[in-house]
């Protein structure tokens, strides 16, 4: 059976290959010849008209499809005097005639001088199929694709030969896939023999997409081998889609994880490395987002051309603004509270209230809109996965930030001093490290990272004075879950929580999933009070 299909396809291939040059040559057909063929449309009964349509299509001329379109909609007329086919346009009591081929003005005539070319339903279908064929061979891939999609909707069996020819000639793989699918749908709707239908089911099944599944479900109820094949193909698509669904959820999870990572990584420095409970951390993120907003506003008013670079400009600024405020907070409040974590918590909570209210006073309580640059908007498909550019960039960005921070902490003098101070303050001080400055700059670094996280997060959420509040609890969860004092723990913690959250969402719902996760973390901390990647050693117990 399949051999037959292959044979048929091969035949069509040869035939269309033979036709292709003719078609190319025919586009240059002379006007008189085309006019003669067009005039044939007005001669004889419906059968003759159908033959004339066939002849017109065979020319492959670009003008044919618009003429046929007029014929199908009943707008094509014939001049009674000389049986010339014309287009008409109402002009007062008379009609203005134009030549359908050349577009030449043929003068004014009274309405009685022309007569409409009648079409019946059969002819209309023929016309539609003919137009389909013509557009299937258009030079524009988008036109070809939409023509194929039209066939997929209409399931018109008469389009099969045209599709076959088009498939053979199609250079674009994507469009070809659509055409093949369209052909299969048309075959299923036709009264072609079972063998063709089985092959068509297989073709549809191979697509493996959600649309293909929808197509197949209309045939799963059929008796006989076709129905059976359809059922089988449908189940295999379903199981494939299940995998895609899982993959999609994981991709959402990674995206959420990267957001959590961005929000938490600054906290991993201030809380994890320095041991400062910074409840104002969320507000540092918020300030970063507002910095982006201000940058975009300035660009909008003074240099609209730079809009695509607004985020790149905002990044260093957000780092400086948030980091600067962080240093200020450290020097004015936190440095008096080292070694008193609960007091630090309360004082920084106070700072967060002040910062929130300050932003609310300056910018207003309503949400501010931060635009997406062109390279961050839109999405693309990988198989059945839909990935938005903004999410992808945020994943990349979070990993870059993570790597950068690792480098700073492990490979620079400043990082070395930071680690020395956090491990043994008095010894570091004895070695000549100016510990107060290291404290201030480390806190500034953590806050600055929170600021650039704000730049990224402004792209996927609302920018409002409460922005930071939404992230603060999650960030603490990530850091505590991952293990304090270990950046790798933060990475693993963020990704685990993000993916677990998104995998639970379809079953438990968004809110319940989050509650379950919180309960899980509460229980997890009972089991491993120091998180996933606990620092080992005896110095931990304070």
């Amino acid at each position: 059976m399949r051999a037959l299909t292959v044979l048929v396809t091969a035949l069509w291939l040869m035939l269309s290959a033979a036709l292709a040059p003719t078609a190319a040559a025919a586009t240059a057909i002379a006007d008189p010849d085309l006019s003669r063929l067009v005039n044939q449309l007005a001669e004889g009964g419906f059968d003759e008209v159908e033959a004339a349509i066939g002849a017109l299509v065979a020319t492959g001329d670009d003008r044919v499809s618009s003429i046929l379109d007029k014929l199908g909609s009943g707008d094509l007329f014939v001049r009674k005097a000389d049986r010339v086919v014309v287009l008409t346009e109402a002009a007062g009591r008379e009609l203005k005639l134009t030549d359908p081929v050349t577009g030449a003005d043929l003068g004014m005539v009274p309405k009685a001088a022309v007569e409409k070319i009648r079409v019946n339903n059969r002819l209309r279908r023929t016309v539609a199929a003919a137009i389909g064929t013509l557009t299937l061979r258009s030079d524009d891939p988008a036109v070809r694709r939409s023509a194929a999609e039209a066939v997929m909707k209409s399931k018109d069996a008469s389009a099969i030969p045209a599709l076959d020819a088009a498939i053979a000639a199609e250079p674009d793989e994507g469009v070809k896939g659509v055409m093949i699918a369209a052909r299969a749908t048309a075959v299923m709707a036709s009264d072609l023999p079972e063998a063709d239908k089985l092959a068509a089911v297989e073709t549809i099944g191979d697509l493996g997409t959600r649309d293909a599944l929808a197509m197949l479900t209309s045939y799963t109820g059929l008796e006989g081998p076709v129905g059976e094949a359809a059922r089988k193909a449908a189940t295999s698509i379903e199981s494939g889609l299940l995998l895609w669904d899982a993959a999609q959820n994981i991709s959402y999870g990674i995206s959420l994880g990267s957001v959590l990572l961005l929000a938490a990584i600054g906290l991993a420095i201030t809380f994890g490395v320095m041991g400062v409970i910074n409840m104002a951390h969320g507000e540092m993120v918020m300030i970063g987002a507002y910095t982006t907003f201000v940058v975009q506003e300035i660009i909008r008013t003074s240099a609209p051309g730079l809009f695509d670079y607004s985020l790149l400009i905002a990044l260093p600024l957000a780092f400086l603004v948030s980091g600067g405020i962080g240093v200020l907070i450290e020097r004015s409040v936190i440095r008096w509270l080292y070694g008193r974590p609960l007091e630090t918590l309360l004082a920084t909570w106070g700072v967060s209230l002040i910062l929130q209210q300050a932003v609310r006073t300056i910018f207003g309580a309503q949400n501010r809109e931060v635009g997406n640059p062109s390279w961050m908007s839109g999405s693309f498909m990988v198989g059945e996965l839909s990935i938005t550019w903004s999410r992808l960039w945020i994943i990349v960005f979070s990993l870059v930030v993570f790597a950068g921070l690792m480098l700073v902490l492990k490979r620079t003098t400043f990082g070395l001093q930071t680690r020395a101070v956090t491990q043994n303050r008095s010894m570091a001080s004895a070695m000549g490290i100016r510990t107060p400055w290291v404290d201030a700059f480390t806190f500034g670094l953590g806050s600055g990272i929170a600021g650039i996280a704000g730049v990224a997060l402004s792209q996927i959420g609302n920018v409002s004075p409460n922005l930071g509040q939404g992230y603060i609890i999650d960030s603490f969860m990530v850091v505590v879950f991952g293990g304090v004092g270990n950046l790798w723990g933060t990475l693993v913690g963020a990704m685990t929580l993000g993916i677990a959250n998104k995998l639970m969402e379809p079953y438990a719902g968004a809110v319940l999933g989050k509650i379950l996760l919180l309960v899980f973390i509460i229980l997890f901390i009972q089991k491993r009070p120091r998180g996933l990647f606990a620092l080992k050693g005896r110095a931990i117990e304070a």
């Binding site: 008193r340 909570w349 700072v351 209230l353 509460i522 901390i525 009972q526």
Partner: protein, 378 residues
Amino acid sequence: MITGFLLNGFDTRARIVVAILIAIALLVPAANLMLPPDHPLHVPTYLVTLMGKYFAYALLALAVDLVWGYCGILSLGHSAFFALGGYAMGMYLMRQIGTRGVYADPILPDFMVFLNWKELPWFWYGFDMFWFAALMVVLVPGAIAFVFGWFAFRSRVTGVYLSIITQALTYALLLAFFRNDMGFGGNNGLTDFKDILGYNVQADTTRATLFALTVLFLALFFFIASAITRSKLGKVLVGVRDAESRTRFLGYRVENYKLFVWTLSAMMAGVAGALYVPQVGIINPSEFAPANSIEAVIWVAVGGRGTLVGPIVGAITVNFGKTWFTGVLPEFWLFALGALFIVVTLFLPKGIVGTVQAFWANRRRPAAPASLAPEPAE
């Protein structure tokens, strides 16, 4: 022994505070109900309700102080227990509405009829009886606190970690109660109450009674807390606060002491919530917000932690300030509150009461060396 334990708590200072509270409980309602409205000492009803609210907060602050000031457990989740107690009371009040609701359903509260629920969920059974609801006000927060504390203290989760997971606890409950299908009215919560024990909740007499009850409960819990902190148990708690490991090495089962005081504190918070709800007339999930818990902590810090009078003074002062600020300068309340957090932690670590006490102690014995009593550490 029990009598001795109780009498022990009734020292001079506690006696004065309890006497003052009882006086307030009697005089304010009297000034509201008995004096004519144009009398200079008349207390208008709105003020009675407002002060009743403050005293409910004071009770919550006392509960926070008991665990934080005396046992070193900084709870950022006490609003959860407060709200749970409030919900238990709110459920009783909802059941009392009966056919007077918008949908006039004799059993189902309005929001359930609205959500097309056919019958009462099992956890609403019994709440038509006051004694049951009153029991739940104490039991539900107590049970949740017990289970939570059982796990947390046995695995020795301490300090900041404990604070953060208490915050996670209340956040999880916040999210849960926001859900409509939880059966607690979703984000609208429970409101539109009519009667409590057959008395109209809007009536002046009911409001005055509720106020008196709130203050009397505060006096009762103050007395209990005073008895506990002055007993041997209280000394062990302070030992846990200041040197947990050492207390453990001395042979005390630290987790049991912590669990006891933690559960008791949660029950107190539950009672506070139950007294709060009929006075304000609504309970909704925003009461669970972690920010509320942290605010309760600052009341304690302002008043002076580690003193029992402190949280009462702090809660009333801060909330009075809040009422005043939101009336006069609504923009600046958060600035003021934020500044309060910073100023208190930086410059007034002992709070108002603690500072005043230290001042008096110094005046009385100017030559004496600095107090040997341990400062409240982390």
